[in-house]
């Protein structure tokens, strides 16, 4: 395996200024963040950046020679799309290194208004093939695309081999299985979804019921799961619930596991992935610090000696503690699908 490939960028989440600093301090090459409104897919109360914290964060990252990406990755809604345009204007004004967009209307706006601004195609665009990515490059000069977490490693390689657009893949974090952006489960239960309102299974619809036996999680009245004493809990997202299907109660859609690609790092480097993304802008600075530190170490080790790379037990331990459901999976990357 030739060791000539450059190491992929480590792209880490920041939901707050302390999280951004934690990412930078622990070895992220790039951080991504969102503004405090529904223009980004982690529109959670109290999370994200206003003008002051964004400026301070960008100053901090640039001072340490790291990059900052602004996620404007929801779809502009209905009659008034000025909020989304303003968010792009603000990103350009803040001097971020790139903007992550999902909506092609917004890509067009950004390209027309700010010809110099670097654009990334969000995972919410659901582009899983190189034709879609190349078209976005042709039309809007997209420089990077983030692939949905549904492709196998072979399929990722296929995409990379047929495009000049940089490819970013997810490396760690909660899984969203429905070809990001096309899932209707959250809309079905609550009327709000990641693409429209920037949030899956919004907290205002979540109720925790503390029974004497079990902890129940309800989303807008729908029972998503029940956790027995001592059993690890998860986010009450519909896709990760346990449901009764023909008399059996089980994870009918997806298990509450976290993606962790550590074991595949040498292959990921080898096929020419440009960046590895960590999920979790909704998580705390402590999470960001621990995940970033661990992946930095692993990535550097895989870059140094790809042939002799093996996952250190300490890394797995550090990450499994943080993982949703405390189980980790290689996700679709190592499925045998062709």
């Amino acid at each position: 395996m030739p060791a000539t490939r450059p190491l992929p960028e480590l792209v880490c989440p920041a939901g707050s200024l302390p999280a951004l600093k934690a990412a930078v301090d622990n070895g992220a090459d790039t951080v991504y963040l969102g503004l405090k409104n529904d223009t980004n897919a982690r529109n959670f109360a109290g999370l994200n950046f206003d003008d002051r914290t964004a400026r301070e964060g960008i100053r901090y990252a640039h001072q340490h020679e790291r990059k900052v990406l602004l996620a404007i990755n929801t779809y502009a809604q209905g009659g008034d799309i000025s909020r989304w345009h303003r968010a792009i204007d603000e990103g350009a004004d803040l001097g971020v290194d790139a903007i992550i967009l999902a909506d092609i209307g917004l890509m067009e706006y950004a390209r027309r208004r700010y010809p110099e601004l670097r654009l990334h195609m969000s995972v919410q665009s659901s582009a899983t093939n190189y034709e879609a990515i190349n078209l976005a490059q042709e039309l809007f000069d997209i420089r990077r695309a983030v692939l949905p977490r549904v492709l196998t490693l072979d399929q990722v390689k296929q995409v990379i081999d047929h495009t000049r657009v940089e490819i970013e893949v997810f490396g760690f974090g909660s899984l969203c299985v429905m070809v990001e952006g096309r899932c209707l489960l959250s809309s079905y239960a609550t009327g709000e979804s990641p693409n429209s309102h920037g949030v899956c299974s919004p907290a205002k619809f979540v109720r925790w019921e503390h029974g004497s036996q079990a902890l129940g999680a309800r989303l807008n009245g729908i029972l998503i799961d029940e956790y027995q004493q001592g059993e690890p809990a998860g986010y009450p997202t519909l896709c990760k619930g346990r449901f009764e299907v023909e008399g059996d109660t089980y994870y009918a859609l997806e298990e509450p596991t976290s993606l962790n690609v550590m074991a595949m790092l040498p292959q990921i480097i080898d096929i020419g992935v440009a960046a590895i993304k960590v999920e979790g802008r909704q998580r705390s600075p402590a999470y960001v610090a621990q995940v970033t530190r661990t992946l930095r170490e692993a990535l550097d080790a895989a870059g140094r000696e790809p042939q002799r790379f093996s996952v250190k037990p300490g890394w797995t331990q550090a990450l499994s503690k943080l993982a949703e459901g405390q189980q980790q999976t290689l996700g679709a990357y190592n499925r045998p699908w062709k």
Binding site: G15, S16, L17, P18, A19, K21, A22, D25, N26, F44, A45, G46, L47, T53, P202, A203, K204, V206, R207, W208, H210, L215, Y227, Q229, G230, E231, P232, A233, G234, Q282, R283, S284, P285, A286, Y287, V288, A289, Q290, K321, L322, E324, G325, Q326
Partner: protein
């Protein structure tokens, strides 16, 4: 600095539980107001105003009730059903505050119990996460 795995003995809880909770509660509220005044706690009070909160330190048997208005936090008796109740052992609260441990991780592990208004819980969690301790003298105690 790492916080050791430690639970206060039950005798402590029964002792502390019998003392009036007002002094620690007053200290908590005063600290919150001070942090807010100095812009260390970037609280958007409009999101918190009119709500009642309880911090339940399980192993110490302490229940600290307070409320918020548009300006400040206030000591308050919150009754049996505060709008938001956070319960954990003292060591886990300390880990969370010192950023040794992610609140979500503690929640997944059932060490942090959140009762009441889930969105309010998220607001409070995100508020605590957004405190930039590096701008304060407390920085050196922080894990990250």
């Amino acid at each position: 600095m790492r916080i050791p795995e430690l639970t206060l003995p039950a005798s402590m809880a029964s002792l502390l539980g019998r003392l009036p909770a007002t002094p620690p509660c007053w200290a908590l509220v005063t600290t919150l107001n001070q942090l807010k005044k100095r812009d260390i706690l970037p609280a958007d009070m409009s999101l918190l105003a009119g709500h009642s909160f309880e911090v339940h330190v399980q192993d110490a048997g302490l229940r600290l009730g307070f409320s918020a208005d548009e300006e400040n936090f206030k000591v308050a008796s919150v009754g049996d059903t505060p709008d938001l109740r956070l319960s954990a052992n003292l060591a886990d609260f300390a880990r969370m505050m010192l950023r040794e441990e992610d609140p979500d991780t503690l929640f997944f592990n059932r060490k942090l119990i959140i009762e009441g208004d889930t969105e309010l819980g998220l607001i409070v969690k995100n508020l605590l996460d957004s405190v930039d301790w590096s701008s304060t003298p407390l920085q050196r105690f922080m894990a990250v």
